[in-house]
């Protein structure tokens, strides 16, 4: 009879024991999968938000800009970058940015800021900042003429300004000359990060270009947004190949936002380890179960051996029983965990209310996303699944070997 079918029937001989074991493994798996998916979700969302709000997952800059940022070090042709992007389907959109440092002043005071010139047509759809407006609205293309600007809540408070008020931006242009520009507040945002809420202003790309003295084809940074962030490695290689020879350098977000990168790497590792331990514990019950059943069936095994069954076949049977338990429990657990993760992903777990104002955790000046949505990937499922399988097989070794260490005659004689 088919070994697997036999194994299954053996397992079903003691339904309760099998059930308990399955439940144990399944819950361990489900838990592990859910947690991994959740942490993945938090990491990926925070990083994607950052990439979309700032300079994309892949950023193109002037080679000397990183070491000594300044308005004169810009990307000479945004058009050329857009041409590159159009040849790579994974790139969802291109966002040119003008970035700089300056001072923003009102009648009541002035504050040093970092400013970003963004394209309202693209940014409104793409940037998380657009979804965090608390007063007024985000920039629209018409703001280029109206000199609209959006500022953070802390900045507005410090300068005693509100919607409709004007502020004067002072900064240095490409020639090193100090320039001033009038701007009007059309929206106020709150990102949950003191650094950004108190020091970032965004204005239309056209306005920033005019202030700094850049043409329509020039920008401080050109960001590429990927539809699928996991394709980054391959896309960045393609981009680098395509821009070779041009006076630009291509960076990954991990270089521009190292704090975020470290956080993601260490967090992922940590959670994998913890989940590994949970799964191990859960799988350990297999040892208990199989050993018990082997001990129980000593007489039966002795009989089979006496009747000529090869020890190898007996061992195989025990091994398959263990693996079957593992597989079944794992399958159930993965299904359960996946269901949980997908349900939570649809609904979202909102922690924003449980965190007081100003106490949101930040990494590298960016607030960690508090709207939790697990992200389930095949990789996670495979990770958990294979871990269970491997652990099961390892744990099954001892009972398997033990199963045929019977003194046939003595066992049969005993009662």
């Amino acid at each position: 009879m088919n070994l697997v079918k036999l194994a299954w029937r053996n397992l079903l001989r003691n339904k309760r024991r099998t059930a308990i074991t399955l439940v144990s493994i399944a819950s361990g798996c489900a838990f592990a999968l859910f947690v991994i998916a959740l942490m993945d979700g938090i990491h990926k969302k925070t990083i994607e938000d950052a990439a979309r709000m700032l300079a994309g997952q892949i950023t193109v800059e002037h080679p000397a800009y990183r070491d000594a940022p300044g308005p004169a070090l810009f990307v000479p042709s945004v058009g050329a970058m857009q041409a590159v992007a159009s040849k790579i389907p994974e790139i969802e959109s291109v966002k040119p940015l003008v970035a700089g440092q300056g001072m923003v002043a009102s009648a009541a005071g002035s504050v040093g800021v970092a400013f970003l010139g963004v394209d309202p047509a693209i940014e409104g759809d793409v940037s998380p900042l657009a979804r965090h407006m608390v007063r007024g609205r985000f920039l629209v293309p018409a703001d280029a003429d109206a000199r609209g600007v959006v500022v953070g809540t802390k900045l507005a408070a410090r300068m005693h300004v509100d919607l409709g008020n004007k502020v004067v931006l002072t900064t240095t242009d490409v020639h090193g000359e100090v320039v001033e520009e009038l701007l009007r507040i059309v929206g106020i945002f709150s990102l949950g990060s003191d650094a950004l809420d108190g020091g970032l202003v965004e204005m239309p790309l056209a306005v920033s270009r005019r202030v700094i003295g850049l043409t329509d084809d020039e920008a401080t940074q050109v960001g590429f947004l990927l539809g699928d962030p996991d394709s980054e490695e391959q896309v960045i290689a393609q981009v680098r190949a395509m821009v070779a020879g041009q006076p630009v350098t291509v960076y990954s977000w991990a270089t521009l936002l190292p704090a975020l990168a470290s956080w993601e790497a260490s967090g992922t590792r940590g959670h994998h380890v913890i989940c590994g331990v949970v799964i191990f514990l859960a799988s350990f019950t297999i040892l208990n179960t199989i050993l018990m059943s082997v001990l129980e069936r000593k007489r039966e095994f002795a009989m089979l051996l006496a009747l000529g069954t090869s020890p190898a076949r007996l061992r195989a049977q025990v091994f398959i029983e263990s693996v079957l338990l593992g597989v079944a429990g794992c399958a159930a657990g993965l299904a359960l965990g996946a269901a949980g993760a997908l349900a939570a992903a649809r609904h979202g777990i909102d922690l924003r209310d449980s965190v007081k104002d100003g106490a949101a955790p930040t990494v590298g000046n960016l607030a960690v996303s508090l709207q939790l949505r697990p992200i389930l990937t095949l990789g996670d499922v495979v990770f958990v699944g294979s871990l269970v399988l491997i652990l099961t097989m390892v744990i099954a070794i001892y009972p398997t070997l033990r199963s045929t260490r019977i003194h046939v005659a003595n066992t049969l004689r005993a009662n």
């Binding site: 440092q101 300056g102 001072m103 002043a105 009102s106 009648a107 009541a108 005071g109 002035s110 504050v111 040093g112 800021v113 000199r147 300004v161 008020n165 004007k166 502020v167 004067v168 002072t170 900064t171 240095t172 090193g176 000359e177 100090v178 320039v179 001033e180 520009e181 009038l182």
Partner: protein, 261 residues
């Protein structure tokens, strides 16, 4: 410490509209003033202390919540782009100087023999601990170009014949004020007071001009008192001790090397 002296140091020598050079006192207008007349008044005020070149001695008295200070300074200017101020007293700051050339500003500190260039994000820092900001030294807005203006009052006030001009910032002018009121003497167009309001029309700063004396061949107010509206008790007072206009000044005076004299 916010801008208190915006136009003061700026007015020292930065702008030089051609028709204000070698300023004379215009005869009082009898007929209703036209826009051109009003513009002329505003230009006169903007260019009160400027000319093709100038050399002045100024003292500054600063009163803030925590300290009171007096400084003596010497200034030179040439045209609109070049301006140098050197501190003479007190001893601690004697020798410190600020040079504006074009739109760049450098500061010199004799004790450490260092010249530092000003960056845009430090524009809000007070100049040498005063209420004037570095940003004010760099850029100048001409009232007649940045605002639209009307005469809002003409008559006698406190025994003087005065005229009030009310200024509204032009839509795209890079000024932080919501409204400015310029009060001038009908007799000689010398300013009596300039009041700056924020966008909600609350008073933010007041400049009072007094002590008219003959300096550099003109009758000009020699005392300027700047009072912030939101800091009771604080003010800054500038007094011109001497003024020479249209003097011969070497371009080399306005160089970084000369800063380190």
């Amino acid at each position: 410490m916010r801008v208190l002296f915006a136009t003061v140091l700026v007015a020292f020598s930065l702008a030089s509209a051609p028709h204000a050079l070698g300023a004379e006192q215009a005869p009082p207008a009898r007929a209703e003033p036209t826009q051109a007349d009003l513009a002329a008044i505003l230009d006169y005020v903007d260019d009160l202390y400027s000319s093709r070149s100038s050399h002045t001695a100024v003292t500054m008295h600063v009163v803030t919540e925590h300290a009171t200070r007096d400084m003596g300074m010497e200034t030179w200017s040439k045209g609109e782009d070049r301006f140098l101020v050197r501190i003479l007293t007190p001893e601690k700051e004697a020798g410190m100087a600020t040079l504006k050339s074009g739109t760049n500003v450098w500061n010199y500190f004799p004790k450490i023999n260092q010249v530092t260039k000003l960056s845009a994000s430090l524009m809000n820092a007070g100049w040498m601990g005063s209420h004037v900001t570095n940003g004010d030294i760099v850029k100048h807005n001409r009232m007649s170009q940045s605002y639209t203006y009307v005469k809002s009052f003409e008559g006698d006030r406190e025994g003087q014949g005065v005229m009030d001009l009310t200024l509204d910032p032009k839509p795209n002018a890079a000024v932080v004020w919501g409204k400015v009121v310029v009060v001038v003497r009908r007799s000689d167009r010398n300013p009596v007071q300039i009041r700056y309001y924020d966008e909600s029309k609350a008073l933010a700063q007041t400049w009072a001009f007094s002590d008219i004396k003959r300096l550099g061949g003109r009758d000009v107010p020699t005392t300027i008192k700047v009072v912030p509206a939101n800091k009771p008790g604080e003010f800054t007072e500038l007094r011109y001790r001497s003024m020479e206009l249209n003097v011969a000044l070497d371009d080399a005076l306005f160089s970084q090397r000369s800063l380190q004299k």
